[in-house]
Amino acid sequence: MITHTLNASSQELVLTFPGDLLSTNANELNDEITSLCKNGESSSKWNTLTLDLKNARMIDSIGLNLLVCLVKDIKEKKGQLKALITSRTIYRTFLATRLDRSIEVVFNER
């Protein structure tokens, strides 16, 4: 389950993912993200969305699709999207797919 924290002063919503972002949990995670970003009480109070992926080892193509949709949504909202990563595999996936050009990536290997 995704947990979230809203920093009102910096208008930043942080979504912390419990683990990998994969074909088997992408739909469920997408519903949670939608609920937290669009429908939740904090939906209008943030400008930067930070995806805390420090618990994730990998993201597969279905998971990447979810991120691509998020990129589109945030662009429409004229907001910022940031990802916190510790997995080298995820970082390389972002580089290979050029997703790092659409998401600000903070990579700190464990």
């Binding site: 990447l64 996936t93 290979a96």
Partner: protein, 529 residues
Amino acid sequence: MSEIDTQGLAEKPRRILLVDNEACSLEYLKACLKKVDCAYDTACNNREAKDIISRASASSFHCIITNCDIAEENTIELIEWIKNVDETLSTVIIADPREKEFGTDTLRKGASDYLEKPVPPKLIAEVVNRLCNLTKQQRSFRVSHFAVSELANLQSNFCQSKKIPGTKGLDLFYLPKHELGGDFLDIVPISPTCYAITCADVSGHDLKAAYISSYFQGMARGMLQKGAALHEVIESINHILLKEWNSLETSQKGCVNFSLAAAFTLIDTETGSAEIYNCGFPAPILVDKDGVTYFWEDGSQPLGWFEEGIFSHSSYLLKDINYIIMHTDGHSDLADSLDIHPMSLAYWLLNLETKQEHYEITSLATDDILLANVNLNKNEEGFFPIFQQKLTQLDIPRIDTVQSEWERSLIFALPQEEIEPRMNDILLCCREITLNALKHGCTDAEGSFCDVTFSYQKASNILSAWIDDHGPGFEFNKQEVLAEMGTMLIQKSHISLGLITVSGLSDDIQNIRNGSCTRMNFKLGHTNL
């Protein structure tokens, strides 16, 4: 046998050593022993006791009785010394009832019994009789155990010393459940270029199984060396098991039936062919140069079960085969209990430096294990299979579980410092390609499946992943995908995203048969960012 002193086993008068630092209590003990049929020596302190034992040899005594004031003599030190000299020699301590803690300590350190004063003569006699018998029994066990160990070494050496000229060699792992086992492997030269390999598993894993194993191993070897054909050897063994060992008469007497599961393989290095008679033995595994496995499934039932029949055999051309792996079912059972793939266990076992290594894992085996890898390739080291499975579309929802199975087997087989840096790359790439294969290459028709194989080449430190859906394939151009990697991906489908990810994370990707089979290589040890 020379290393074990068997003097204590001979029927001779029992000999006791009394250690007592008080003259009057020593006299009392001597008087007690007159009612026991035994000879005795006396010592008035530990030093004298050690001298007597050393001079006469510990095995000439049957029991030591110590009754020393603990303030003056260190009885525990004496017990430890005796146990070190001869662990079968029984000792009894006599002490004051106020020294209960001391009594408990002596038992913990190896004393056989502890008596509280005053000790009536009858009790002394009873204890001496009991402990002398215990010493004899322990010495008898020690001699038997030593003999079994010697046989075990012999059996192990027989197995380990096999060579196959004309091939790169034989890697073997042999681990009987107990000292001796019923599994065996033998290699008999038939001609300068032809060898017969007998790999067998006798039911049971005890001394009886070891005896049967030796009997038929010798019989097969003798017949083959005298020019008998494989089918003649098999028919003879089956005949003996049925007509002599498992005859109705012996069965009625309550004898357990005997059976032998065996694979008899004839390898001709000149023609590059192999012929096998498999009688109830696990299917030998043929491995090609890429580490892809084929199971040599043909065969008949174990020997000793049924009347003589026709024992089926099959032949195989070994042109593209690097390894023939044969294993007894003890190997598969251990892999099951470890929840890893048998080939992962096979690689690990065959690459152990010593059998003592990771004893906590091999000690989980519930049966004898015999694992042999005939290395047919004289030159380059081939890829060795680590994992192989067949998946169908029904496995799509359980892809996370499948991924865990891959991970467990890879971690088990390969050195942690090599596999760990690439594990996530490997899992993600294989997950992507496998899901694609199951969704787009396979159908829901029965018999439509996807093969997933991991193989490893130690020399290059490369892990290969093969995913083969046996379907029509799809148009996939690696150059196009690589070109796409230079563009923004917002519009790309998830298949493209998957392929781009895989191309980025693997070190090499090859598409075979129009993409129905994908091979990815991963150089282990480190990841470049």
